[in-house]
Amino acid sequence: MAAACMRGDYMSEPDIVGGRIQTNNQEGRKYMMYIADNLVTDVLDELELALSISERGIANSAHFSIDRALTKVGSTWKVKADDSQLYGMTLRCTAEDTWQMEFEGDYVFGSEENQYPTQLSLTAVRYVPAEEESIAQGWVVTLSGERREWNDDQKNRGSKSDYHCIFGTRTIGKTIQYINTRGNGAKGWDQMFGDLYMTVYKADETMDVCCLSFEGSPSRATFLRGI
């Protein structure tokens, strides 16, 4: 799977360092895990909660604005609970066992002071891994997004920070698989496969290109730079 991180697969992004470097830098790895794990997991948690409500036939929810059953193609739900980090996110069934989520708003990485505008488009396809049979549920996720480290009211860094990043699975067909053998609602994932990419900018200057590559246990993801 790590081979998918090599240059050539993703020619649309710049190569600024000149080679593939594996690094043990924990701060960089942690930052990308905020995207790959926290953010995506929160989105999938909302989806699983919505599907749970839908499958039980509940007509009204304090958490979602409800349309038809969320398993019907074209049905669109919206997160209306203002205590949710993903307030305003829409969930739309685009095909059988396939949902597309769109979010735009402030999202926290780690602590409250790291709350910045984040935009995300994520497609999740539900599947049951054959080898795990009925006890496992997995999601095949394709995503793209952006995070800007400044707010309209300049409340966090003032004018000092002009960093932003774009992230995602980069090209159509590239995905990250999230597999959970503990059933719906469990936090965290037993296995993850795939690559998450991130390009970092300061103003308009490209600062870095990073990749977090999953080959099983999420805690053993490989952090790569200079793709």
């Binding site: 960089g28 942690k30 990485f109 920070s161 960093y163």
Partner: protein
């Protein structure tokens, strides 16, 4: 520092007994400094930044891109020696010059990014014309303030962004001197390009 304080006190008491006479010149020696932590202040968002290096956007870790790609630093400063001369114009006004000598060492590094860590170990020397304004009061104790501007030279291993010649300043909003007409002790609060904090010393008039 204790020895200097003791010396200043001894000289002060010695000076009390000396016969007052017309003296037009005064020379002082001070030792002072700060701990580098004193340079860390909070900005309007409650985040730490450094008063010397705030233009480099230094900051502490809190896990965002800014902290991954902007420099972090550590600082270590030594004591600062100050030599001062004043010509006594009248009871409340003196003019002269001062010179400061100090050291500063530390390093900058990056969590991510492509810049290497950078160390610096520098000595600073400044020469500044000054004005000293005294508040007339008791003969053995008086308050005063000082202001000085001049030029500062830095030598040693400098940061690549640092300049060897800079504008220098030294402000003393409030200070005290006590003792006799000839020998006396000083304590100053100060804010300058080399020293920020306080200093103590002793003086001699002739």
């Amino acid at each position: 520092m204790k020895r200097l304080l003791l010396l200043a006190l001894v000289l002060s008491f010695f000076g009390v007994s000396m016969r007052a006479q017309e003296r037009r010149h005064e020379v002082n020696a001070f030792l002072g400094g700060y701990k580098s932590e004193f340079l860390l202040v909070d900005n309007e968002n409650g985040q730490h930044y450094n008063m010397l290096f705030d233009d480099l956007n230094t900051n502490l870790h809190n896990g965002d891109l800014y902290d991954l790609y902007e420099p972090h630093y550590s600082l270590e400063s030594g004591p600062v020696l100050t030599i001062s001369y004043n010509y006594i114009i009248n009871k409340w006004l003196r003019v002269g010059a001062q010179s400061n000598f100090g050291t500063l060492a530390g390093k900058f590094w990056y969590e991510l990014g492509n810049k290497p860590a950078e160390k610096f170990d520098e000595m600073m020397f400044s020469a500044l014309p000054q004005v000293k304004v005294c508040i007339p009061g008791a003969s053995h104790f008086r308050l005063y303030a000082k202001a000085a501007v001049g030029i500062q030279f830095t030598v040693g291993d400098l940061l690549s962004t640092a300049s060897p010649v800079n504008f220098a300043w030294d402000l003393v909003p409030i200070a005290a001197e006590w003792g006799g007409q000839r020998f006396y002790g000083n304590a100053e609060l100060c804010w300058g390009s080399i020293i920020r904090g306080g200093r103590i010393g002793f003086g001699f008039r002739f």
